[in-house]
Symmetry: C2
Subunit: 298 residues, 2 copies
Amino acid sequence: MKKEVRIIEVGLRDGLQNEKKNLSVPTKLQLAKRLEQAGLRWIELGAYVSPHWVPQMKDTDKIVRSHLRKNASTAQYSVLVPNQKGMERAVASGITEIAVFTAASESFTQKNINCSIRQSFERFRPVVRMAHDHNIKVRAYISTAFGCPYEGKVRASKVKTIAGKLFDIGAYEVSVGDTIGIAHPLQCEKMAQLLLKDFSAKKIAFHLHDTRGMALANIVKSLEAGIRIFDTSIGGLGGCPYAKGASGNVATEDVVNMLHAMGFTTRIDLEKLIQTSKWLQKHFDRPLNSKVAKLALA
Amino acid sequence: MKKEVRIIEVGLRDGLQNEKKNLSVPTKLQLAKRLEQAGLRWIELGAYVSPHWVPQMKDTDKIVRSHLRKNASTAQYSVLVPNQKGMERAVASGITEIAVFTAASESFTQKNINCSIRQSFERFRPVVRMAHDHNIKVRAYISTAFGCPYEGKVRASKVKTIAGKLFDIGAYEVSVGDTIGIAHPLQCEKMAQLLLKDFSAKKIAFHLHDTRGMALANIVKSLEAGIRIFDTSIGGLGGCPYAKGASGNVATEDVVNMLHAMGFTTRIDLEKLIQTSKWLQKHFDRPLNSKVAKLALA
């Protein structure tokens, strides 16, 4: 059983975009730097989306340019890009990876980005083309892959079909998301088994939210089925966009702690990560959502 | 694979004894009643311990007597009993089950009850005898079975030896406790495999704390290895006695939600349980620790 796990840190994007409190540009820059110093090697820095819809991401360009300028980095940075306009900004910024997104549920796609799943592909086809023209890697998210807030159940076979199409258009990795944190361990195991029959474990990430407390349990069964890439968020930043006050992203600290305890390697320095979480806590007026960090702070 | 799981509700004892805020006698009585109405069939009501050491348990006698008088109950109630004096109170109260406790670590036993593990057995031997003389069932806890705040690692073989001795003196069930929430999923699996080689799954409970967020993951691997009895606490009542502000008991709501999602049965009505948690939340000025209840409240 391969023991190395890749952690994709999404706190600065998926985390902060669901936080009421925004962080200043210097604080975000310091967070990125601290995460990298703690050993995180894949970090989402922000999103080139409309500041009207997601005001927390309005300073993404500053973050990206300043961070890339100051850090001769060993980490891979990425930004979320929804359309061609965002892609133009991404190209100009010097970023070397972007992420596009769709969903496994039609109703969610309609409500979230006002188009069908098929139309979402049409939208990001030119984005992906432009990315490849500039040697920018493309990651792709599939939201609501384990359940939809509007439709309920989502078939795993549908997720597999969409993942296949994303690889076809040139995504190097697909992140399969439990957007509402409804997945359970056996469901994750089955999803992993189905996807890894056709796709390499080097290309499939699981993005599991902790809304019902099951994220670590889901990770355990996903690991058993062969998944080795997980998206996580420092301090569990980011709630559930469909239920204010509920938990969302699983905390990087808690995932890394469990992985190390189980004998997996991440090349992340848990102690430095917890120190980063302690420092980050000062910028929020509610306790962050990592139990491991809470214990360290207690 | 047997699909029925027994949940032992310990919120009124292990939960409240680690909460700063105590509940009034009427509130505790209402909580016990609501838990029973939600389908809980094994409920710890309190502890016959010194009110000097554990003031939250000082009204246990009132709770037990009043509850047993008012409810022609289908549930099995229990109280924790540390010594002969406590046992006399238990006999007088009419309770039909008690729990005794020891630990798997010598330093913990010394610091916690000021004696060796062997001496702890000598202490509760007359307690168990008196219980049996009065047809009172005896449950036994083994604390720090997965790790000790003073000694660190604890050998699973030691836990097995102690469990064997507890059965020998007449305990009908042994609850194996991760007092500091340090266990990881593979450790739980191994512990379960070791214990279930010698003892029936009908007699071994796991009492897993969520201090590092791993309790549900630990339950999943314990279930796979055959464990079918878990101690849980409504709203995750009770913190970590060794780190104020950190999480302790795993929340009954979250466990039941996951078990049902995975196809296990508990005979517990999750909706009623969540309503109980909502009601209980009003009595605390901090959010309770169940993610499922938080989601319902959001």
